[in-house]
Symmetry: C2
Subunit: 220 residues, 2 copies
């Protein structure tokens, strides 16, 4: 693989996730929303910003995060094309959101969206489903966080593989630092754990951002 290919692949074009979102719903939000381009590491919204829009990734990758009192950063989620984020029941965002790579984001104003939901039962149901998806994501996140370093990293790879277009082939748009802050580990530990998994032939690492899952059984 050429040195540049990996970045091209990091901006995914497919939408392998979110099977439960109906076509009608997708059409509706595309009508209400407007597509906006962000370059990499651009802020979409900050923590505590008023939550007057929600967002769907069209192209690229987004991380949500919050800064703890002592300066540590916790990454709450990564969002890929098709994923919807930033929907809040309260008035403000509880996490900030930034692009990881150059991205295109559908920005949907909350007021017309919620208004639509109160007219259209299908949309209201999707609204609930979106929250429920987010609950599940956060619970799964908590589940990997009670485990040891190797299990956390494997859990992370699972999650990425599930959302990757090519089942056993992963292109990571995010840095080791992002992964570390998502998993509650240090960059050094993430790096060493990848190396261990490579030595035990569970994965191959052609480049630091491209991972091939071997022994896919152990990863299910």
């Amino acid at each position: 693989m050429s040195p540049r290919t990996k970045f091209a692949m990091a901006g995914r074009n497919t939408c392998p996730t979110s099977p439960s979102k109906s076509k009608a719903f997708q059409t509706a939000i595309e009508r209400i929303g407007i597509a906006v381009k962000y370059e990499r590491n651009a802020e979409i919204y900050a923590e505590d910003d008023p939550a007057d829009s929600l967002y769907q990734v069209i192209r690229g990758t987004v991380r949500s995060y919050k800064l703890l009192d002592d300066g540590r950063r916790q990454i709450g989620a990564f969002y890929f094309p098709g994923d919807i984020f930033g929907l809040e029941a309260g008035a403000g965002h509880t996490f900030a959101a930034e692009t990881i790579v150059d991205s295109k984001i559908l920005v949907i104003r909350r007021i017309p969206f919620v208004a639509l939901a109160s007219r259209d039962n299908n949309v209201a149901h999707q609204l609930w489903t979106l929250s429920a998806t987010e609950v599940r994501r956060a619970q799964d996140h908590a589940t990997v966080l009670i485990m040891n370093a190797q299990e956390r990293v494997i859990g992370f790879l699972h999650e990425m593989a599930r959302r990757s277009p090519a089942e056993a082939e992963i292109d990571l748009p995010m840095s080791r630092g992002d992964i570390a802050d998502y998993l509650g580990l240090t960059v050094e530990t993430v790096s060493r754990t990848f190396k261990q998994l490579e030595r035990s032939a569970s994965i191959a690492l052609p480049t630091s951002r491209h991972i091939v899952l071997r022994d896919h059984a152990a990863f299910t």
Copy 2:
């Protein structure tokens, strides 16, 4: 305090949480649901059971949990009077639920409830709010899980204090083992951390299940 008082207090009678649930909503679910008594350590539903009801704690305490492949138990949440749990967007429960102490639970069948939501915008909105509350809870849980043992325990005490009728006085219905499985620590570490906090005069431990928060500033 007499040896028995703590258990009497563990069954809380107040509903300090859930300020966003409307009176009309509460009336509606009370009309649809039926109250059921469970004795302590009784199963309400198992992991993967069909999710055809949701539940509100009337009296007592509930833990939700899942068993990991290697037998470890992860506790996902504790539910106190007023809390609603077991609402799923999918077909099955992703966590099991058990009472911790003798409890009274309002059991609400899902079908009439969802039907009501599709007729009544207010209920539909509450449905969304419930999910959003659960998202927040799970995110907060993930946030404490990236921290060290002392911070996890303090985070846990915060959470309990917030939901306790008496601000700086906590009666724990759950065992050290439950706390450990919620925080991803061992019972020994939980016990030692409580002791440390007591030695540093951050808390007092009149009995192992009763905690008084001193220096409430450090706990905010």
